[in-house]
């Protein structure tokens, strides 16, 4: 009985979250499509044609998986951060807090919503990429598993950010000062093998390197770090961030007085 109630509650949160980003699609789906198209035109067609090969592939083909992953990361994170913070700000998060919804359902509902937006944007970007290059698929399962797990990691990150945020400024600080630099330095635009050994080591402290590497492997069969290591790192992040998110929601940090 309780399982059925939890399932309906989870579907309600998911429904609400998906409806939210679909209702404001001009703000949520169009901008990443435009941004990524510009990346394809500038870095792929204009500059990329002068770069030549990267990792044995032409530059445009090489950066496509990274750019898809970049849009998945940004959108899954910002979806949960802005939606959950907005629910806190308008106090409609109380609708869930007064209801018999277990905390894991709240976390799963918001993370599911963030994953849905991240992956939908990823799909849109993939379709746009098909206008610029031929998309190769080396292993579809690696692609699907990596994109799902990465979207989950950053949805959890967005949720934690929203719990601590006290203003709308607070939900843009992490994407601007942490996510963007880590993504740019995460092997989206270059192969780690181009870096000196020391900087290759430093780069491996960046979790996005593992996600981009696994995702690129799914498309091209090319990887900067082994697939096993990538999945272990992503798994550790999911478990850790989920534990943090659950603790915060259970204690009512920023939610209950």
């Amino acid at each position: 009985m309780q399982n059925r109630i939890n399932l309906i509650a989870l579907k309600s949160i998911l429904h609400k979250e998906v409806h939210r980003f679909m209702r404001i699609w001009v703000q949520t789906l169009v901008p990443p499509a435009i941004t990524i198209s510009l990346y394809f035109i500038i870095f792929g067609s204009l500059i990329g044609s002068r770069i030549g090969q990267m990792g044995g592939f032409d530059y445009m083909t090489f950066i496509v998986p990274g750019l898809i992953m970049m849009s998945v990361i940004t959108n899954s994170y910002s979806n949960v951060a802005s939606s959950f913070f907005s629910a806190k700000w308008q106090r409609n998060v109380e609708e869930m807090l007064v209801a018999p919804v277990p905390n894991w359902v709240i976390v799963a509902g918001y993370v599911g919503g963030g994953m849905a937006r991240g992956m939908l944007v990823g799909l849109i970007v993939t379709i746009i990429a098909m206008f610029f290059t031929d998309i190769q698929i080396h292993n579809i399962w690696v692609i699907l598993i990596t994109v799902s797990l990465t979207a989950a990691v950053f949805s959890l990150g967005g949720l934690i950010n929203a719990v601590f945020a006290g203003s709308f400024d607070d939900i843009s600080i992490i994407p601007t000062f942490v996510l963007t630099p880590l993504t740019y330095l995460g092997g989206v635009f270059y192969s780690l093998s181009l870096l000196p050994e020391f900087w290759q080591g430093v780069s491996k402290l960046n979790p996005i390197v593992y996600m981009v590497s696994a995702f690129r492997y799914g498309f091209l069969g090319y990887q900067d770090v082994s697939l096993t290591t990538s999945f272990i790192v992503i798994g550790i992040f999911i478990v850790s961030l989920y534990a943090i998110a659950m603790t915060l929601i259970s204690k009512g940090i920023g939610l209950r007085s």
Partner: protein, 306 residues
Amino acid sequence: MQPALEITGLEKIYKGGFKALKGIDLQVNQGDFFALLGPNGAGKSTTIGVITSLVNKTAGNVKVFGHSIDNELEAAKSHIGLVPQEFNFNQFESLTRILVNQAGYYGVPRDLAHERAEKYLKQLDLWEKRDDAARMLSGGMKRRLMIARALMHQPKMLILDEPTAGVDIELRRSMWEFLTQINEQGITIILTTHYLEEAEMLCRHIAIIDSGEIVQNTSMKALLATLDIETFVLDIGQKPDSLSLAVTHRLLDEHTLEVEVSKSESLNGVFAQLSEQGVEVKSMRNKSNRLEELFVRLVNNNDGAK
């Protein structure tokens, strides 16, 4: 019969050391229409916050229909419908979506939730606005939307924190009628309000909370019976040159006289004395609501006792 709500020794100390609740005990019986009154900052909303798990308690026990919020929180929550003081819905969502999603959080399937949404939106005169964003509603409509939302999972107990604040009198009366109807259907209602007339008219039991303590907890009838003096305001034709009455009185202006009459005295006697002195009484009204007089007295006594 098991009480709808049982609170024992409830304490709440906020960060910074402010003691909002100082060990309150309270019981609300099933089917009751219960008023929880108190001045601003007395602890009413904190009490409601603890019952509905929006505020973490410091000490004490709360049971809702026998379910403790400490170890059966989800069962306890499923019996409560909350109409909070502040608007707390997504202003950009449509009314129907707000109601259907809320029902979903309580495990109500979507088809059934749509049926209930239609029922309550119609009952509360919001059906025409069902597809509008909530921010487009007037203040009174927003209050009614929150009542509809609180009823979507058909709770056994409805808690309303100042539901008629800022609502015009006509609308307030229609809300009273609606609340009376649902109480008659067996739903226990706990109401906080600053309109004491509202509490007197609707509620059968009352608790007055002041500075985190319950200073009165009794039936409305018993409380009103303790009021031994009533103040009347008389509109008089003309001011007498001199006036002598056996009861305490004051001339407020040339045409307004205020008299205090105790239960042992008769209004006939006051009228007779006025008539003898040639004072014509054109109309008469209570100076204030009876409950209001008691409320002020109880709160003042509590303040004096500190």
